[in-house]
């Protein structure tokens, strides 16, 4: 290995690491606010990317039907809740958001000339389809069991992952797809060529991370989420609804996932089941950060990306073994830093 190869590998590792970092942030966020270990995070990557692919191919994305179905279901559940508590006034709102929105979106998708739209508009449409699935998922799947132990929530997450992969095969088929890059530009950076999309990925990751930082530091919703993450009961006493916090968190997680998918679709081929391994690598990073620290998780993500790049150079057949074995020393280190017998939740 010479210096140039090392540089190229580092670039590759950092690009992948940037995506893992985004996912790791989403995972830490979801866990902190809702205690859900969000295994299906990776599925949003695949859904986001492949929805964009379908839009670019000029077809109405199949994910729209999932959104419609989930919306109708959520409307039914909410409407029943509203009627039971005698709040008839809420019905209109419930219907408008859960059913009205997907219907309007469906109309848009049918009317617009999808294939010829400008790329940013296509991306926007893809996000409009995929991202609302996050809060709907929280409403239908996690909210009814919000108080359940972490392990139950984890098993539910695995079930959601399994279901979403099955649906993915149905929606997108078994073959993979790519999207055209955001920019065809290539830059010469010292001894190596860097292509434009790589810059996009890294820049977008940094922007997103900073934006999240601002969101949590400045905005009222961000502060509410932070409060919920620190103390659920306290947050409730302060009038912050855990249900709202949960939906907001899942909205962010879905947004981060789908956006990551859109970002990497031009540099790699995305399959219906791509998300799982990407998500798991985000997890390894999140675990490095103890599922609590954002900066350490982000650093862990870059570490995972680099480890992956270099191990694929040295021993490609053992790449996954190496990456997933990394978790063991990390866990070991964590086990030596915690002393006392703790009660499980």
């Amino acid at each position: 290995m010479d210096f140039q190869i090392a540089l190229l590998l580092a670039q590759d590792g950092i690009t992948n690491g940037a995506i893992y970092a985004l996912l790791a942030l989403a995972l830490v966020l979801v866990f902190a606010v809702t205690r859900v270990i969000f295994i299906p995070q990776g599925e949003f990557v695949a859904y986001g990317a492949l929805t964009l692919v379908m839009i670019q191919a000029g077809t109405v994305p199949a994910t729209l039907w999932l959104l419609l179905g989930a919306g109708v279901l959520a409307a039914a559940v909410d409407a029943r809740g509203a009627l039971a508590s005698g709040q008839k006034g809420r019905l209109a709102g419930v219907l408008a958001w859960n059913v009205g929105y997907p219907v309007v979106l469906a109309a848009l998708l049918y009317l617009l000339p999808l294939a010829t739209l400008a790329l940013p508009l296509q991306v926007l449409l893809a996000l409009l389809v995929v991202v609302p699935m996050g809060p709907l998922m929280y409403r239908l799947i996690y909210q009814p069991v919000a108080a359940a132990p972490v392990l139950i929530l984890l098993i539910i997450s695995v079930a959601v992952h399994v279901g979403m992969v099955g649906l993915g095969l149905l929606f997108f088929g078994a073959e993979g797809s790519r999207t055209p890059p955001f920019s065809e530009a290539r830059f010469e950076l010292g001894p190596m060529m860097v292509n434009g999309q790589t810059i996009w990925v890294i820049a977008a990751s940094i922007v997103l991370i900073v934006a999240l930082y601002q969101f949590f530091g400045r905005s009222i919703y961000g502060k509410a989420l932070r409060a919920t993450a620190m103390n659920r009961n306290g947050a409730r006493l302060m009038g912050i609804s855990p249900a709202l916090a949960g939906r907001l968190t899942f909205l962010l997680a879905a947004l981060i996932g789908a956006l990551s998918g859109v970002l990497i679709a031009p540099i790699t081929t995305i399959y219906y089941d791509t998300g799982f391994l990407i998500g798991l690598k985000g997890f390894v990073a999140a675990i490095v950060g103890g599922l609590a620290s954002y900066p350490i998780a982000a650093a862990g993500a870059v570490l995972v990306g680099l480890l992956e790049a270099f191990s694929s150079f040295w021993a490609s057949a053992y790449k996954e073994v190496i990456v997933f074995t990394l978790i063991i020393p990390v866990l070991l280190w964590r086990s030596f830093t915690s002393h006392h017998v703790e009660e499980e939740e």
Partner: protein, 600 residues
């Protein structure tokens, strides 16, 4: 009225049906039953691990793979290295090697991951599940991703089990053996320790249970079940490759355990059966409804899991058990069992506990500041003070649940600070908790028997094979004796969770007494008791004092304290503000100030 069947007759019927099944059923049904048996064996390990012990593993399929690959390699390889050549060719030797190998791997993985709490373990299992899967596929000696063919059938006394209906008996014999040994294990001293892992770890440690060891025990047992299943699988299938040992199958095993009812031994069988049959059924049905190709089963299973976990978290077994009314077996106590030996108590008046300048800081907060106190044998000392004075923190420093920032705790003359509650419990200190810590679904008797854990020594194997019954009878007798002593005899066989809160506190005292302590730490024992019960409690404590036991007691109820105790230590803001005889302390202006808040 519904007919009520005895456990014995239901089991007998079940066994008889199993015996004739391969003779009367079409071959494919037997095939399905074979797979159900194999899956149930793995799921049973998960019931023990996840349902009972609260440890979740997505990686069991990898252990199945270890069992399958060990036997596949040993029975097909022609050029085994010399040191391993003795194990070649025979499936039975390969089973032995596989079990030892799996236990070793599980022990190593367990030592790495089991110390972690909560969600790290399942995430860790996902990681090594993936790693082992890729290793199976990458190592050339294991046939790579393509797999190993030509695995011979198992032979019993020279009779080869080539046919599905022949190996059927072996599979189900393994499964039933596993079910019965697991049931035996859970109903024993070790079993109570295991059952305490889910939600009672702090309590179990305070009763002298080595919870880390118990976790390791069930982790290894679950791995061994999986290994045995893999061994059978390899000889049923006669072919192995990595796909049946991947993470998605590991997830399916966990689903089986959860669907069946993760806390129920028979739930494993139910879960494996339901999922295997539903899969077959869906395979026929779904394409007819939806026509095109898609992974409908998987979507269906995902949804089913979500609904079950939302609506019936205990799985299907409780619903199923309601259909078959089985008479509950009544536990009987063997009154003839010899009482357990007792430790000699220190001489009355000897100092047994001495805390010197104990300070505990949590960040900037000083919860205990240079606290000192002593307890003598045959004396009751009360630690009182307003809410938030740091009494319970002091208790935790003494009992080893927490470690003081500085200062010294001497118990029976030996320094114990930082030694952990298990070691301290072993020396003869026993405690109750301010927030009651008991296992609500277990009976009062079993809860109290956890207290006697340290007084027995029969381990996992004697328990699984029922060679522990003599000791078990003595332990239960001791528990029963303490229950009678504290006046809960009529609730002996009730679920602990069904008792009133005051009674649960009394139960905790019985549990502490079952440990045969010389020093008893009671955290607000009288809270929630009615007047009569308080009187009875005071009487009991006096009697214990009379026997020479030292008692340290935190209490709010001044009437209860003042009439009972020998000396009082008063705390405020983490510090001792007064110490002395009850009547002296009552007159102390600082105490009055603390309690009445400086009435001007």
């Amino acid at each position: 009225m519904k007919p009520v069947l005895s456990v014995r007759s239901v089991l007998g019927l079940f066994l008889a049906l199993l015996l004739v099944a391969p003779l009367v059923m079409p071959p494919f049904y037997v095939t399905l039953l074979n797979y159900i048996g194999l899956y149930a064996l793995v799921a049973l390990g998960l019931v023990l691990l996840t349902g009972v012990g609260g440890l979740t593993s997505f990686g069991q399929a990898a252990f199945v793979g270890l069992g399958a690959y060990t036997t596949a390699v040993l029975t097909t390889a022609t050029d085994l290295p010399a040191w391993l050549a003795w194990a070649g060719g025979s499936p039975w030797l390969a089973l032995g090697v596989g079990l030892v190998f799996t236990a070793t791997v599980a022990f190593v993985l367990g030592s790495l991951t089991l110390r972690l709490s909560g969600h790290y373990l399942p995430l860790g299992t996902i990681a090594w599940g993936i790693s082992l899967y890729f290793l199976f596929g990458t190592l050339e000696t294991l046939g790579g991703h393509t797999g190993l063919t030509g695995i011979p059938p198992i032979a019993i006394f020279g009779f080869e089990l080539t046919d599905g209906s022949q190996i059927f008996y072996l599979i189900w014999a393994f499964l039933l053996l596993a079910v019965f040994t697991t049931q035996n294990l859970l109903d024993s001293r070790e079993g109570r320790a295991i059952r305490a892992l889910k939600g009672g770890m702090v309590m179990a440690e305070a009763m002298g249970v080595d919870t880390a060891r118990s976790r390791m025990v069930i982790f290894v047992i679950a791995a061994l079940h999986a290994c045995a299943s893999g061994w059978l699988y390899a000889h049923l299938q006669r072919f192995v490759n990595p796909t049946p040992f991947g993470l998605h199958i590991g997830i399916e095993y966990l689903f089986m355990a959860v669907v069946g009812g993760a806390g129920q031994v028979w739930g494993a069988l139910l879960g494996a059966g339901v999922i295997t049959i539903a899969k077959q059924w869906l395979q026929d049905l779904l394409p007819r409804i939806f026509g095109q190709s898609g992974n409908f089963e998987v979507i269906f299973f995902g949804l089913m899991m979500i609904v079950i976990l939302q609506r019936a978290r205990e799985g299907l077994w409780p619903l199923f058990a309601r259909l078959v009314p089985v008479k509950a077996t009544k536990r009987t106590l063997d009154a003839a069992a010899a009482p357990l030996p007792r430790k000699p108590l220190p001489a009355r008046g000897d100092v047994i506990l001495e805390a010197k300048e104990v300070t505990r800081k949590f960040g900037g907060l000083v919860a205990n500041n240079a606290m000192s106190l002593t307890v003598k044998a045959g004396e009751i000392l009360a630690l009182i003070g307003p809410n938030g004075a740091g009494k319970s923190t002091m208790f935790n420093q003494i009992s080893g649940v927490d470690t003081p920032t500085s200062g010294e705790v001497l118990f029976l003359g030996r320094p114990v600070a930082g030694r952990g509650s298990r070691a301290i419990a072993r020396m003869g200190m026993s405690r109750t908790f301010q927030h009651v810590k008991l296992l609500p679904t277990m009976s009062v008797l079993e809860n109290v028997a956890i207290g006697a854990h340290m007084r027995g020594d029969k381990g996992v194997f004697p328990a699984a094979w029922r060679m522990d019954r003599a000791e078990e009878a003595r332990l239960l007798n001791e528990a029963a004796r303490q229950i009678e002593r504290v006046g809960l005899a009529e609730h002996m066989f009730d679920a602990a969770g069904s008792l009133a809160l005051g009674q649960q506190r009394i139960l905790e005292i019985a549990r502490a007494l079952a440990a045969d302590p010389c020093l008893l730490l009671l955290d607000e024992p009288a809270a929630g008791l009615r007047f009569k019960e308080k009187q009875a409690l005071a009487e009991l404590l006096r009697k214990l004092r009379g026997e020479g036991m030292g008692i340290l007691l935190v209490e709010h109820d001044m009437d209860f304290v003042m009439g009972l105790v020998d000396r009082v230590v008063v705390m405020e803001f983490g510090q001792k503000i007064a110490e002395g005889l009850p009547e002296e302390v009552q007159q102390n202006p600082a105490v009055l100030e603390a309690y009445l808040g400086g009435v001007e």
